[in-house]
Structure formats: structure tokens, C-alpha cells
Symmetry: C2
Subunit: 441 residues, 2 copies
Amino acid sequence: MQIIDTLIHARWIIPIEPTNLVYEHYSLAIHEGKILGLLPTELAILTYHSDNIIELKTHALTAGFINAHTHAAMTLMRGIADDLTLMDWLQNHIWVLENKWMSEEFVRDGTDLAIAEMLRGGTTCFNDMYFFPDVAAQRAIKHGMRASLGLIVIDFPTVWGENSDEYIQKGLSLHHNLKTHELITTPFAPHAPYTVSDEPLKRINELAQDLKLPVHIHLHETAYEIESALAQNGERPMERLKNLGLINDSLIAVHATQLSNDEIQLLADSGASIVHCPESNLKLASGFCPVAKCLAAGINVALGTDGAASNNDLDMLGEMRTAALIGKAVANDASVIPAMTALRMATINGAKALGLENKIGSLEIGKSADIIAIDLSDLETQPLYCPISQIVYAASRHQVTDVWVAGEQLLTSRHLTTFDLKELKETVEKWRVRLIQPTQA
Amino acid sequence: MQIIDTLIHARWIIPIEPTNLVYEHYSLAIHEGKILGLLPTELAILTYHSDNIIELKTHALTAGFINAHTHAAMTLMRGIADDLTLMDWLQNHIWVLENKWMSEEFVRDGTDLAIAEMLRGGTTCFNDMYFFPDVAAQRAIKHGMRASLGLIVIDFPTVWGENSDEYIQKGLSLHHNLKTHELITTPFAPHAPYTVSDEPLKRINELAQDLKLPVHIHLHETAYEIESALAQNGERPMERLKNLGLINDSLIAVHATQLSNDEIQLLADSGASIVHCPESNLKLASGFCPVAKCLAAGINVALGTDGAASNNDLDMLGEMRTAALIGKAVANDASVIPAMTALRMATINGAKALGLENKIGSLEIGKSADIIAIDLSDLETQPLYCPISQIVYAASRHQVTDVWVAGEQLLTSRHLTTFDLKELKETVEKWRVRLIQPTQA
């Protein structure tokens, strides 16, 4: 008998790779943060000994969700400004509040709220773009969460930097400090083509190639973005990025609601990834990403919630479901984006986008033990013909009962192990009171 | 002090009428199944005495959701056939299973499952269209649920009837037996223009006018429906119904994804209602209902989940959210279908469609006490700037804690008071085993 850290017996295991597979009465052996074994429970009992044996008799185990586009700290602004057009929302609400309140404290508390919500919903890794990524990194490490923390770059000054040079320097320094950390990676995160000029984009691209870092950017989010770029310099933003050399396999293109067939082919040929954020795109009326076409062209399409200020949650189960439903309607074909494809978008495709496909995104031997358990015994997921269908089309996030990141259990029977929930709620309430104070024009 | 049955003190009360209103620290007085008072808690304490006082300190009370289009018993087929085109799904899966298994027992157990799921999600009334509405009525009455049970009519024979005459006769008999029941109403429910011929439609319309019953029908669900009607008889289905006299204020037109501007005007002028089923329309790639245009034209648009076989849940909170999000994207305007409009679609607009606006759909004095409580203290609905926004855009259905129908408490702190949940799950599991038996071609 081999002695191991943790042995989980589950009714179902959905390994993601190989695809479309559901093991029944299987077990996962976890040791030193990694997946050591995946085998029938009757065999696991004879093979492994552990002081930490977990029985999940009505649950499906699968890989933790990877939320491939977030602005985590913005969760403090959940629901503060709804039902507004994108520019009204940004210019008259979000930017005004950020201008007034942005600080290390805001990012600390907002990221805590986001991490707690994400863990409770089965997300084990998030790809963030926001100010003070150093603070976000501290919070992720403190709570045991995996995070890909964008080294944000914008042309204009904020509390995080004066100009693009300073953003890049601060980013490089953060990358250097964190590059050996098990839980943290640091892609570059130039905000968008319309907020970052050519020189910093070229410099970011060179550095990203040298350091083998992804480049995470909002791209073709709205028709307005395309129109104003064409009016300003006669180029669609993707064309400009192509000329600057950024359309390559490091690119994480977020939103992509406006894509010509040539642009789909360009992304496919380059090996770039798209992050689809369906609920944010719908809520802000940004447009429809042609996901089925992109997948058919061979593009890696991952899934993100975007910030909670435009969603208004960080619920990857809900986002998967919306992605499957809207993807069918946009393609006018109910057979596209079947449940398994949506589940892959939320797991292995996210890992690929972040350059972490050898480490996370599926339950395979040797990968990190980033695992979630979903209890499918609720009435709302009965009768149960197929666990994959129930997870994508019927389950709610409160059915996520247990979550592990790198073998550490961060959610145990719905209890967050690294948070004081009462204290967190009190902190959030203090921010609510601050944020509703009248702002001078 | 007036002695009353039940007194509920709540942090927030959203009465629906007047619209866009949130009372804080308010109470509802309930007596003999009706709302007797709606007033500040500090005043309620001085006014009423009750042996049944309920304190809901972190909850919003609002009107129970009205699921305005269901096929309740089909919940037994949740997830049995996903990711298929509409005709493949219907002809090769759903109709095959229904043909084999349809029975009073199927409707009894499937309706039980649906009612339990709906109550747990805050739905207090459903508008059903299925076989054996007599059995569905018995189940609704048994569990204390309000239901509008369609008197189904189809041209072809099923276990419920041989021909449209028999369907109509059985329907009239059921209507007669139930017409004085507090919880049950019985609209006519001709299935669709393509399954019911002119004569029975005319007869139904006459009877509906005489008996003052609504007419609940699938209408303009897909482009294919329009094309095949045009090919068959040169008329769009709505034109045919107009010529037959059915486009009037008794009409409940379900789906309506294919609407010309003239048809929108026709529906508006006639006083007909639309039932929008966004998740089913997306999942089956049926098309997009132009909800914002319909609302702007003055049409009463209610909300339904459709059957769980094409959704795959009966979650009106989720459906409201999807309706708001997709409605914005389809209109290309993020400001349309704000949260309050979505909440009205799920409550008072449903009541209007069913002809029950004087009885349910809002928390007003004299109306039936059909009430739900949603706990907004979960982390996922923090910070809380506006309860209406949180309910529509962030809350999940497990946050529905308490539900009353006609003053009877059917859900108490998440516990269903009129169900044996263990027994229900066992019954559902038996159906799963039956339904997966190979079917002969």
C-alpha cells in the first residue's frame, strides 16, 4: 500500500482529457499537490493508504474551472450601475468610482471577495487584469488560489503608474518576484488597442516573446471600437496588432465579438486564443462572438466572466451554460457547442490560453490537483441521464461542495477554509457605504 | 390589535406594483390566504397580532414567480437528449419516448418533480400545456401550488384523446369540474398552428370567448414553422390565426421568435400576450424574440421556461436574467429590459397573460398571498446596492428560502412542506431506469 496525502472516492470523474468520458465509481489519488492516480475505486482501495479519505457518493469530480478573464476587485462594484450603455457605464460610473477609490486597499478587499466567490463556484484559477496586481498576487497566495495576474499597461496615468514605461517596469519587477511561485503566473496585460499606443505594444510583444509570457488584451469588444479605430487610423484593431506582430500564439484576445472570416482565419493560423465572455457581452450589448465558427476554424476558445460590475457574478457554471445556449442561437444550429465543449472551454481551453495546459485544466496523472466536486443529488439535477449535461445545463454553483488547488482543500462541504466569511462580509459592507457617497462632478 | 394568520417582517419588500419601488423594514400581514396589510414593520407590530410571526432580516419579499409556459411532466426527460436540432430532438427522441411512456403515472410523477423544483425556485404558479391536465390539476392541488392547466387540443390521437372533438370535450369537462377551485384555472391550449386545423381552432375561440378563458398556443417558434406554413397554404401562421379570429386579448402566444413589424403591431393592438422562453429558444436555436420592440409597442410580455427537456431547468430567476441579457443584445442597447422590467415579466406580466392580474403577480392589499422570500445575505449578492439588481443579475435560486401560495407556506427555510423529498427522488429514479431502456424503432 502506497501512503498518500489524499484519496477521493467519487461517483463520477470527468477527466476532461480524454474528452467525452465519464468514469463511474472512480478515485483520485493526490500526493504533494499533484494527481498521482486515477483508477476504479475498488482498485484504489487496494493500492493507496491515506489518513485523508473523502467519500463523494453523489458527486462528479472534474477539473477546476479557469475563469480566463476577470477584473476581480471590481466585484466591489457589483450592481452599482446596471442597464446602461457601455460608454455611459464606463465614463459616468465605473471610471468615476475607480478614479475616486482606487487603492491597494480596494484591490485587496475586492480581490478577496472575488476569490471567495470564485472558489465557492468551483473556479480554481483566474486570469486577471487590474491595478495593483502585486496586491492581487498576495491575496491569491494567502487564500491558496491559483491566479494569472496581468501586468497591466495603459497609456494614461493611474495610481498604479504614470505612463506605459512605468507600467512595464513595475510589471517586469512583479514578474521577477513571482516567477517561481507555484500558484502565480504573470502575463502582460495591455488594456486594449484604443488605450495602448504602438510603441508600448511593440515593447510588450518583445518582452513577452523573450520571457515566454502570454499577452492578455481586450480586442474587438464592440462595433464602436472598430469604427473609431477605422476613423482614427484607417485600420481595424486586429490589423494594427498584426502589423505590430502581436497576433501570435501568446495572444489572449478577450471578447472578439466583431470578427470577419479573414480575422477568424488569422487567429486560427496564429495559434492565438479567444476568451469568450458571453454574459458581459450580452449585458453591455457589445455583440455576439461567433464561437462555433471560431471553434470550427480551430481557434482555442476559453471562457471568462469579465468583471462582476458587468455580469454581475463570477459564476463559471452559469457562464458555461450561457456560452452553450447563445453559441447555438448565434450559429443557428442547436447541435453546436454541446455540453462537453462548454465544459472544455471552462477548463482545458482556459489552461491552453494561459500557457498552463501541462499543469492544469484536466484530471491527468502528473498535473496539479486543481479539482472540484459537484453534488448532483439535488432535485434540480434529477433524473440524471448524463453528468456532463447536468453540470452544464442544470446544476447551480451552490452544488459545488469541495474544491482543491494544488492539493490544498479550499472548500470543504461548502465551507471556505482560508476565509473568515463574517469578516469578509463586514469589509465589503464598509466599501458599499463608501462607494455610495455622492461623487462631485 | 387585529388578530391575523401570519405576519412577515422583511428587510425589503418589492411590491411590483407600484413599479421600481423597494420598501425597507416593511411587513406583510396575511389573513385567510390574502394580503391584508403592507406597512412599515414598526407600525405592523402595533397593528397586528399573530401566532405565526416570521422574521426575514436579510431577505427581500416579492410576488411569487409565474412560469407562463411549461410542459411540467417533461421534467422526467431533463437532459435525456441535448444538443440536437429541434426536429431531430422532437421526432427521434421526445415523441418516441412520449409515445412509449405517456400515461397518467408519467404525468403524475413528472408534474410532482416539476412542482417541487418550481417551488424551491420561487415559482408559485405555472401555465402548463401537456397531456392529462386532470392529473396535473390533482398534483397541483395536493401540493398547494397554483396552476393554469391548459386544455390541450391536437388533431392527432394520443393517449389523452382520439381527435380534436374528444380533446375539446374532455377539456370542457375538466374546466367544469375545476372552475371554482381557488388554485386552478383552465385556459384552452391548442398545441400549435401546425398541429391544429381550422375547425377546432374556430370552435376553441368561440368557447374561449363564451367561457372567458385564455388560449395558450405555441406561435412562430421557428423560421421553419413560418416557411412550411407559407409553402402549405400561403399564409404565415399569425395571419391564419387572425383570419380565424384568434388574435385577441385572450391569446397567449408562446415563443414569437419570428415577428414582422406588422405582426408586432397586430399583437399590440389586439391586447394579446407573448410568453418569451429565452433559454429554450437559445438551446433549440429557434431564434430571438424581439422583446424590447414588443414591450415598446405595448405588448404584455411574460416569461416561461418551457419544458425542462429543452432548457434544462424550471428556474425563473435564471430565466429572468437570461431574458434581460439577451434582450439587450438583440436590441443592441444595454439600457433596455432593465432589472425591474425582467422582474415584472416574471410576475405581473405573467398574471396578465393568464387573466389573473386581479389576483396574483404583485404584493397588493386584497390579492392572494402568493409570496416568496429571497435571502440576499450570501456573499454572491454582496455588496448590495439594489435588491432588484441583485435578484435579477446575481442571485441564484437556492437563495429562495420561503414560499407561500394563497397564504399556505409551501417552502420553509428551504424545506418543502408538502413533499416527501426522498420518496420523490426514488420515484424519479425509477422513471430514469425505465426511460433509458432501448426503444424499438
